[in-house]
């Protein structure tokens, strides 16, 4: 399998400017000018139609990333239209498969077996793929979240979807909301048990603006710089990870007068191996919480994959529903576990 599909978990909070606690219901009433007596089902329906409309709006395209998300409703083209987004008003959830991909490149579309059969793709042509998401908008609470699937580092709509959510849940009287990566504690515990460090890597996508005579400087944005630390002793336990990170994050990448501290790179990952079940897991550094979050790869969790290496969306839907109910919801909504004595 060339791809390595994974799930990422994000949470975001509504931030009203008057600093009062505002629920997603109150947000909807303000934003959609609904009646205060509107039922939860009506509000979720409104959220759903707003979400679908927004997929065709300005927020769904990012000129910097040259990416867009949308929903192709042509069933002859969209192979997985049966899994298109739908909503569950009682669970306050919108979920389904949307399309996303890049545009803004001059490309040629051709048959690999017959290159004479080809057409030109313009800068406005997007190449779209299929991505599953599950969005939670609790009508009685101010913090929502989403689970998002991606296929690899480049085959991903994570950045644009995060941005999309920030924009969609913006309104007068509310500060911009930021979706933050998080990992349910149960995953962290599952991955941490008995694992040993294999390697740690620091990655930076360079955008260099230093004048340089040899010209390479202008092309630095086309490269990722990865610094990989591999311990000779494979017995370093996961509890020592922070010490390892602290040690190497002080190292400096230097070019002339320009210096970059490795710890400030865009991405820090480490890979651990569990000697008991002989499985490898990757963790990413979460800058907000200052801790490593495990990446939930779908291999091993999903039995069936499509011919192109993407996960079977029916199975993925079931997995995400279960993960959401069992792992994510208890963490996003601890108040639901509080009962009367």
């Amino acid at each position: 399998m060339a791809l390595n599909p994974k799930l990422e978990f994000f949470r975001f909070t509504l931030k009203p400017k008057d600093k009062n606690f505002k629920t997603f219901k109150e947000f909807a009433i303000t934003k959609f000018e609904l009646d205060k007596s509107s039922s939860d089902a009506e509000i979720m329906k409104k959220y759903f139609s707003y979400f679908i409309e927004s997929l065709d709006g300005d927020y769904s395209k990012d000129e910097n990333q040259k990416k867009q998300i949308t929903l192709i409703k042509n069933e002859e083209v969209n192979k997985y239209l049966q899994y298109q987004p739908k909503f569950k008003s009682d669970a306050n959830v919108i979920h389904g498969v949307i399309n996303g991909g890049s545009y803004g490149r001059e490309r040629i579309l051709t048959n690999k077996n017959d290159t004479n059969e080809c057409t030109e793709m313009s800068l406005d042509d997007s190449v779209l793929q299929y991505y599953y998401f599950l969005l939670y908008l609790p009508l009685d609470h101010n913090e929502g979240g989403f689970i998002l699937h991606s296929n690899s580092g480049s085959e991903s709509i994570t950045k644009i979807f995060r941005r999309f959510i920030s924009k969609v849940f913006g309104h007068d009287g509310f500060y911009k909301t930021e979706a933050e990566l998080f990992s349910p504690i149960s995953f962290q515990d599952e991955f941490k048990k008995g694992s040993h460090l294999q390697n740690m890597s620091f990655k930076k996508s360079f955008v260099d603006n230093i004048p340089n005579t040899n010209g390479i400087s202008n092309k630095l944005d086309e490269y990722d710089i990865i610094v990989k630390v591999v311990p000779k002793n494979k017995g370093i336990s996961i509890s020592q990870i922070n010490q390892v990170r602290n040690l190497f994050s002080k190292f400096i990448l230097s070019r002339g007068n320009q210096t970059d501290i490795i710890g400030d790179f865009d991405e820090t990952k480490f890979e651990v191996r569990n000697p008991i079940n002989k499985s490898n897991k990757t963790f990413e550094w979460n800058k907000k919480d200052n801790e490593f979050s495990p990446v939930v790869y779908l291999e091993g969790r999903i039995d069936n994959f499509n011919l192109d290496g993407t996960p079977d969306f029916k199975e993925l839907e079931e997995l995400c529903q279960n993960l959401f109910n069992d792992e994510v919801l208890p963490e996003l909504r601890p108040d639901l576990n509080v009962t009367r004595a």
């Binding site: 606690f21 109150e26 009685d140 609470h141 108040d335 509080v338 004595a341």
Partner: protein, 207 residues
């Protein structure tokens, strides 16, 4: 009435023991430490103090502790009545969200926890006062040095030996009850005062 009292006492002891390990989210801590940790510490301190005291409680101690306990009982009964409608007011507003529901449930749980622990402290204080009264009523029998007595193999004074044994055991039990319960009362008083302050300031912050 005695049947009712027994029932009320049983409920109070059972529920207060549970609430001592229950937080305001109704999560019960079932760990060994939570269940027995404090009891073991108090047990060790109590046995050590019984060993150190030797001849029981002095008159000054009895007078001082009786006064303190009487004040505390009065204070706790006032706090209990005060807590009845101050700590928990049911949410009557139509507007409801996760935060209001959470606060409502936490206030309900805290009010119950406060009521049970305060009531238990009052009962324990009364039992301690009754145990101290024994030292005043039967002064000579309750200031014996437990460590001066040994077992002997004499069958002539069997009745006297049994009576002495009963008195010595009563001495031990009385001292144990007073010291163990005083430790418990001190601990509960600290909990009642600190949790009440925390609860009140949190409630003010939420306004």
């Amino acid at each position: 009435m005695s049947q009712e009292l027994n029932k009320y006492l049983r409920i109070l002891i059972k529920e207060s023991s549970r609430f001592e390990r229950t937080d305001i989210n109704n999560k019960v801590n079932e760990s060994f430490r939570a269940k027995y940790g404090l009891k073991l510490v108090f047990l060790i301190i109590t046995l050590a103090l019984i060993f150190l005291l030797k001849s029981g409680f002095s008159n000054e101690f009895i007078s001082f502790v009786s006064s303190v306990l009487s004040i505390l009982v009065g204070l706790f009964i006032t706090a209990l009545i005060f807590s009845f409608d101050k700590f928990y007011e049911p949410n009557k507003s139509e507007e409801t969200n996760s935060r209001i529901k959470l606060w409502d449930t936490q206030a309900y749980n805290y009010a119950k926890k406060f009521a049970y622990i305060t009531s238990k402290t009052i009962v324990v204080s009364i039992v301690t006062l009754v145990a101290l009264i024994l030292s005043t009523l039967f002064k000579e029998s309750f200031d014996l040095n437990l460590f001066e007595y040994t077992f002997i193999d004499e069958k002539d004074d069997l009745f006297e030996s049994i009576l002495t044994g009963i008195i010595l055991v009563s001495n031990f039990i009385q001292r144990f009850i007073v010291i163990y319960f005083l430790l418990r009362i001190m601990y509960n008083t600290l909990f009642i005062v600190t949790s009440m302050v925390q609860y009140m300031t949190t409630k003010i912050d939420r306004m």
